[in-house]
Amino acid sequence: MLKAEGIWKRFGGVWALYDVDLEVGEAEIVGLMGPNGAGKSTLIGAISGFVAPTKGRVEFNGNEISGLPPHKVAQIGVVRTFQQTSILNGFSVRDSLLLSLEGASAKGFIARAMSGPYAGDRERIVTEAEALTLELGLDAYRDLPAETLPYGRQRALGIAMALATQPSVILMDEPGAGLTQPERRELGQTISSLPSRGIGVLLVEHDVAMVLKLSDRVLVLDHGRVIAKGTPSEVRSDERVIEAYLGGVD
């Protein structure tokens, strides 16, 4: 259970987040919506350790994770994906997955150096990498550099890499951006399958229909404040939400 309580964030003289509360359970999809500039990415940054909240607290399974650096947060099980730069240039699908599978390994420098290409047991790692590759439809792209993949496959790779770290919660930052409709549908299917694996998802998406369709619960941010929360149907018809989207520049 991931809990963010009373998150405030200020950049210089500008407040980006005002007293935001958020909860993500281990088998649910929580949608985070809001017009551009509402603070969605900042919130993800604050939860995952990339941005230090000015005030507030983030907890995971009862333990405070607010002050931790991003890699520790990821090791604990809260993993984020990125909006634009979601892949590693020059890395093949194979290499990307190998990196994610072993990234959090506790082995130190010398131990890793003496272990050859795999920080752990080769059989196990290769099997897992293969499983993820097949599951996310990346088998045709195994050896290709990630930047040559179509965007839909790049997002799938990003999700595969996140899954490789064996997360409890994934914070997805606009995974649908730049995808075609069929790619988005496929992405949606992948995302809906996550709760059944015991993975909670915080889904930040610009595509309102997609968020409302996939989420169990939804939060709406506008100008750094939570202006609505509830089930998708409740939020869909909420006046303040409609005004926030129509009133601002989208």
Binding site: F50, P69, R94, F109, G116, V126
Partner: protein, 345 residues
């Protein structure tokens, strides 16, 4: 007796095994690429020694190139994580002075001096890297430039320790005692030692880069935020690279000091920091051999252009500009592209 010999052989075989199962790399410490590289290096170095023979001019060039290559390689480790240090000569200087002072003031044997050089290079690099690598890109470039100048000025100002701007002379040379013939000539000894050390460094680096550390370093260079989000402690691994680079630079500095038998602060100035940068760029920063290649191409230049060093500067500068404009991945990158294109056609 026989059993232990067989175990050793099977261990060796296992260490270089090729798994045909899939295209995932085999679990061995060194793969075919790594072994080939080391073999080619060793052969080239031997060939050069044989060809140069007793000609001290060519041996001198060869030895200088080998030492410079080690220095360039040390920077190549740091550029691998995407950091370009404009003050790397300071670690070379620190190692040089460490060794020289240990040998001249503390009467240590040269081997101990070399070890000190590596230790000092690595130990000073640790806190410096830990602090400076919090910066990125242009800011790191500028701060390492300032660092380089600061260290050089300190070599000058603390003349009681470092001998001032006049430097330290009459440094004992590298000589292998106890071996007759060629081995006792300082020129050849220096070449032998420098080459042996370079090959050893290469073996170690190839092992490290082939392991998961190489993947981590590459991910830090390509997309540090993404790497961090996968649970990788990127800062720690950045500093590892910086420390290894510093230690290797220190060793190169010590080798050079004992070879030239003279050091002074002006040897570790900004222009000395530029040299490995140019070597890495020209040779190519994507592969470990790039800096070696760059150093081999650029190293002999001062000697070849001996009479006309103005022309050397002109040539050097234009080469640098052209390489960046036309061959951004250096010679190695260029060759690789040609090979790929050839294979596809």
């Amino acid at each position: 007796m026989r059993r232990s010999r067989r175990d050793i052989f099977s261990m060796l075989r296992a260490a270089t095994a090729q798994d045909g199962l899939s295209n995932y790399p085999s679990g061995s410490l060194l793969g075919p690429w790594e072994l080939t590289t080391v073999l080619v290096m060793a052969l080239t170095l031997t060939l050069v020694a044989v060809l140069a023979g007793n000609d001290s001019f060519y041996m001198h060039i060869a030895t200088t190139v080998v030492i410079t290559a080690g220095f360039a390689l040390s920077l190549g480790v740091i550029t691998r994580v995407g950091y370009w240090s404009l003050g790397h000569a300071s670690f070379m200087g620190l190692g040089a002075y460490a060794s020289v002072l240990a040998v001249t003031k503390l009467a240590m044997p040269i081997v101990v001096g070399l070890v000190c050089a590596m230790l000092i290079g690595g130990l000073t690099a640790a806190p410096i890297g830990a602090v400076l690598m919090r910066l990125r890109g242009a800011y790191f470039i500028m701060v390492t430039f300032a660092l380089g100048e600061l260290v050089r000025l300190t070599f000058v100002s603390e003349s009681s320790i470092f001998g001032g701007s006049g430097g330290i002379t009459k440094i004992p040379p590298l000589v292998f005692t106890g071996l007759g013939g060629r081995f006792s000539s300082p020129l050849f000894s220096a070449y032998l030692l420098a080459s042996a050390l370079l090959v050893s460094e290469m073996v170690i680096l190839l092992t490290i880069v082939r392991s998961s550390i190489g993947r981590i370093w590459d991910s830090i260079r390509e997309n540090p935020d993404l790497a961090e989000s996968q649970g990788i402690p990127i800062h720690r691994y950045k500093v590892y690279a910086f420390v290894i680079g510093g230690a290797m630079a220190g060793l190169a500095g010590a080798l050079q000091a004992h070879y030239l038998q003279f050091i002074s602060p002006s040897m570790y100035d900004f222009s000395q920091s530029i040299k490995p940068i140019v070597a890495v760029i020209v040779g190519g920063s994507a592969f470990l051999v790039g800096p070696l290649l760059g150093a081999s191409l650029l190293g002999p230049l001062p000697e070849l252009f001996r009479e006309w060093h103005e022309y050397e500067r002109i040539f050097y500068g234009i080469t640098l500009a052209l390489v960046v404009l036309l061959m951004p991945y250096g010679v190695v990158g260029f060759v690789r592209r040609m090979v790929d294109r050839f294979r596809r056609a």
